[in-house]
Symmetry: C2
Subunit: 281 residues, 2 copies
């Protein structure tokens, strides 16, 4: 099999996995360098619009529902009564949209360091931004690490860390110091959920250290959820929960009766995502 014509394909190499994933392009729609990173937008043949940051696939129109649903709904159906949600990162607004599907949420704050991510999402992924005018949504473009350091103790029910990989601006979001700040900001049944990369490639480099750091920061329990995410390395992804209370059970009746549509998440999928493969034990 020959190589891929680099003008017709976008390719992301995953060095640590000795692998690469490519998407066939119709063309490049946009490219800019912000004070934080380089953002590219492509139109692909089958995955719809594609956002790339610093060479890494952030999301595609076709398969972002997997990631966004799994970043939002398991955490929100685990907390007994989530009213105040903070999203760190999440500039494409897809996680925010899912959070706002929960009628009980009174306030959802998105703290994204790079406003250009959100402005480009509004332009190229308008479906993810359809709840941005919801009066419960607030946008802060700034440093999530600093915001969490200064947050009022006990003022948050759920923290969702929807960031890029732990290199560059997101590095500080994978540290015990940050989790300690989250722990202080969270109320009594508070919990955090954070994207934690691939079980096949990042078990020892990211997933296990994240569990250790979260526990060291004071969280009584941590647990990784697994789900498919085709556009990310290996196609197999995790989100890790850390809670002050129980995070292995959830409001199953509410999840089964959810009044909003999803394409992946449901109560059975929530239970399924909690199952731990032998190699993650």
């Amino acid at each position: 099999m020959g190589g891929l014509d680099e003008h017709r394909w976008f390719t992301e190499i995953c060095e640590e996995g000795g692998s690469a994933f490519s998407l066939k392009l119709r063309g490049k729609l946009h490219e800019e360098r912000t004070p934080f990173q380089r953002i590219e937008i492509y139109d692909t043949e089958f995955f719809g619009h594609l956002m790339v940051i610093d060479g890494f696939v952030m999301l595609t129109a076709l398969d972002n529902f997997l990631y966004h649903e799994m970043m939002a709904h398991p955490a929100l159906f685990t907390h007994p009564d989530p009213k105040r949600v903070v999203i760190i990162g999440g500039g494409d607004c897809g996680t925010l949209r899912e959070v706002l599907r929960h009628a009980g949420v009174e306030h959802a704050l998105q703290v994204e360091i790079d406003e250009r991510v959100t402005r480009l999402a509004e332009q190229y992924f308008p479906e993810l931004c359809e709840s941005n005018d919801d009066p419960r949504a607030e946008f802060l473009f700034g440093d999530g690490i600093r915001w969490m350091k200064e947050a009022e103790p006990g003022s948050v029910d759920v923290v969702i860390v929807d960031s890029t990989d732990p290199i560059g601006p997101a590095e500080g979001l994978f540290t015990e110091a940050f989790y300690r700040d989250c722990h202080r900001a969270l109320g009594g049944h508070g919990l955090i959920v954070q994207q934690s990369e691939s079980p096949l490639f990042h078990l020892d480099s990211i997933i296990r250290p994240m569990h250790r750091a979260m526990r060291a920061a004071g969280f009584g329990d941590t647990h990784s959820l697994q789900f498919p995410q085709p556009c990310y390395p290996s196609g197999w992804w995790t989100a890790t929960l850390a809670g002050k209370g129980d995070i292995r059970t959830f409001r199953e009746t509410d999840a089964a009766a959810k009044p909003f549509p999803t394409r992946y998440y449901n109560a059975a999928i929530h239970r399924a995502a909690l199952a731990t493969p032998e190699l993650l034990r």
Copy 2:
């Protein structure tokens, strides 16, 4: 990001998904054209040995455990007492190895059309062939479709269809006529499990037609299992069960007490694989 040097990477393009998956190579170990197909063996940087048939990734040393465990254990823990197992395809012997881990299995027949696949697996994937000398194992190199047509009615407990994609020699394994032959060959609680491709790319082209054909062939119930499989297109894969009896429950106590090691499968993962994502409903 530039293109991939085709001498350092093996790339499989998935035309119907507008995507490609590449593995970084150390080198090519073998290549031959058999009467049935072209087989290549590579050594990769991170995934270990790689077998490619007609340009499609068949398996890698790193991640085949996902596929082989999920092709064998859910089906075998679903049947109440599986003694006689037939594997159609499965020439790499990885599914056979998992089947033979079940002490109750008395006879496991592997019907692979291309003996060279098995001979190359013995050489390049010896770990998958470690049970080939088991006295319960039998090898037949021939046409699985014809074998099933001529099988004695009620003589099989579990049929595992571990084939290539439904183009080329495997095409006839995705038909109502073949499922009808399986149905006749199976005993009272008999069931079939077949690899059924990606929920993201093949829902309408393969998964749904497979369910229809299996039901038309007489199976009372069908259900798709989902699991990660990084080296296959989208990294998200399915195996579809069709049974004469119940296939949505399984011998959970036996699965939880399984006396053999696995790296992905366990009783919780079995329940998880049975969960149906919203888009597959």
